[in-house]
């Protein structure tokens, strides 16, 4: 079911948190709402499921306008960050709850619960209480309960935030598998760019109640529209150099570094610019030599991570295959791929 937000506006006590936001989630698509805390992503989610009332605009599920429908009539499945399982009920009763509320027959409930339990791999846990389950199992139960009455839309609010690192990896692919198997339209709210990039078809990145960019993970990574998007995506994060345009290139403020930039030829000399360089584009290969001092080195097993301070004080990050020749404090002369550099205007716009 396609979800459309049209000029969606939300205010709390007179403060406009989200102002005329437009968003379309295609049928069967999984979309991530990604952004720092307080950017309005959870507010958007709660408006879609009906917990928050809409102050302006429309929310459409397919052709159905649900803006003013109560949650009960929207047919939306929600997985909450803390799973919100009912502690006094067994797993079976938890999953069956949405169906018993609907007064389905006992046989139907039983069959539906067992089917969904099989899909989410919790068939052997049905008699247990939520308190007797691990975090990952609780997550599966929450998913099963959200999906059991075949909702039109599945909403996931930071579903992996309460899991440890290993389970997070496992549940990431599990949630994606279940979403693909059921073909349900899903919205994932997260502040973790890795989750968003690995689980979703498209990412909508939000800041201050606005969607800055909607794109596939790959496009968003290689083609960010603003410096905020570039800084938010990527781990280790991108590093920025501040300087100005000069003779069709970019020059650091103290003039110590010059980058040839194709886009800079149309920019008047002296314009303030910020250049973003991803850590994989600074290292042993490239066209512009840069020397600096390694101020931080970290090994991650397969790769090493370095922070290199340039003479003017700005820092470039580099990620390279693991090797043992450079330590913190060493002076290095590495190279930068100028073609991969991302150029931003002073206000953060990509040029």
């Amino acid at each position: 079911m396609q979800i459309v937000l049209k000029d969606f506006t939300k205010t709390f006590d007179g403060n406009t948190v989200i102002d005329r936001m437009n968003l379309t989630v295609e049928d069967g698509e999984m979309l991530a709402l990604l952004g720092p805390s307080g950017c309005g992503k959870s507010t958007t989610l709660f408006a879609v499921c009906g917990i928050h009332r809409v102050n302006g605009g429309q929310i459409l599920f397919g052709d159905r306008d649900v803006s003013n429908l109560p949650s009960q009539q929207r047919n939306v499945g929600v997985v909450f960050q803390n799973y919100a399982l009912y502690p006094h009920m067994s797993v079976f009763e938890n999953i069956a709850f949405p169906l018993t509320v609907r007064k389905d027959s006992k046989a139907d409930v039983d069959r539906a619960v067992r089917d969904i339990a099989e899909l989410t791999h919790i068939s052997e846990l049905l008699e247990r209480r939520p308190g007797q389950l691990s975090g990952g199992q609780q997550q599966r139960v929450a998913l099963a309960r959200a999906l059991v009455r075949k909702p039109d839309v599945l909403l996931l609010d930071e579903p992996l935030a309460n899991l440890d690192a290993k389970l997070r990896l496992e549940m990431r692919s599990e949630i994606r598998r279940i979403q693909l198997e059921t073909g349900i339209t899903a919205i994932l709210v997260t502040h973790d760019q890795v989750e968003a990039m690995s689980m979703c078809e498209r990412i909508a990145i939000m800041k201050g109640g606005k969607i800055i960019q909607i794109d596939t993970p790959k496009d968003m990574y290689s083609n960010p529209r603003t410096s905020f998007v570039a800084g938010f995506l990527g781990n280790p994060p991108i590093s920025f150099l501040k300087g100005r345009a000069e003779a069709g290139g970019f020059v650091l403020d103290d003039g110590s570094l010059r980058l040839p930039l194709p886009v800079a030829s149309q920019i008047p000399d002296g314009t303030d610019l910020t250049v973003g360089i991803r850590p994989e584009h600074f290292g042993r290969a490239g066209d512009v030599p840069i020397s600096g001092k390694v101020i931080f080195a970290e090994t991650q097993g397969r790769e090493n991570l370095y922070d290199v301070a340039l003479p003017d004080g700005s820092v470039l990050r580099s990620v390279q295959p693991a090797q043992d020749d450079v330590r913190a404090g060493d002076s290095v002369s590495w190279k930068l791929e100028s073609a991969a550099a991302l150029v931003f205007a002073e206000d953060g716009r990509r040029l």
Binding site: C49, G50, I51, P70, S71, Q72, N75, V76, G77, V78, F80, Q81, N82, A84, Y86, P87, H88, F97, P98, V101, R102, R145, A146, R149
Partner: protein
Amino acid sequence: MTRNYSNWPIILVLLLISAPIIVMYAFLLVDTVTTSPPGSAIPNGFTLSHWRFLIDPTATGDVWGPTLTTILFTASIVLIVLGVSSTAGYALSRLNMPFRRFFLGGILVMHAFPLVTLIIGVFLVLQFVGLYNTLTGVVLVKAGLMLPFGIWIMKGFYDTVPWEIEMAGVQDGASRFTVWRRLILPQVRPGLFALALFAAIDAWGEYMLPRILAPSADFEVLSIYLNTVSDPDSTTYNFNLFKSVGLFYTLPILALYAIFRDRLMNIFGGGTKG
């Protein structure tokens, strides 16, 4: 369980402090089944005659009538307190209703007033609505006076139930009422249970209200009955008999305390599972 300190000094100190109470209870118990010579506290013979009031109405008058009345009195109060506290506590904890803060403040203020300062007003109201000298009137007043405490306690328990459970219930298609009844109420059960016990114990021991608000009514609760028994000018006065009736009156409460001690302590934990 092993401890890294020994318990006996603490227990000894507590024993010493509570010794007077223990001795009194012991004598209460012993005196009801023994005879002792005049002027002596040491019993010299065993008898069950002090308990004859249970079957012989001539001893002190019928005891079972007041007992039934007391049970009815207590049960009605418990029902009213539970019913109102469980719903009002929920409303105050969860619903965004007008004058919420005013209600909360009002409850605290009500809680602060001792009964005696209210009694004249209560008397006038009862007189006005025609419930003076009736069991219903006393039940309503007693239950009403316990409500601030009950509502406040239940609000505390509701506050500890996570919001997400409620939202999840609504998302699952349940109405607010179904959510309350099937999802939220089961989670405040320890609170309800403790409150019921507390109300029962309090109502069982109530003496003042029936005395003042129904002085000439045709019903008698056990506390009033006990008071009649203890009248030294009465023809049937017998101190050991009085003690037996007293023990008969106290036993249900002692039993409740002994059986449900742990659950009763819940009320002070604010609902967190310990």
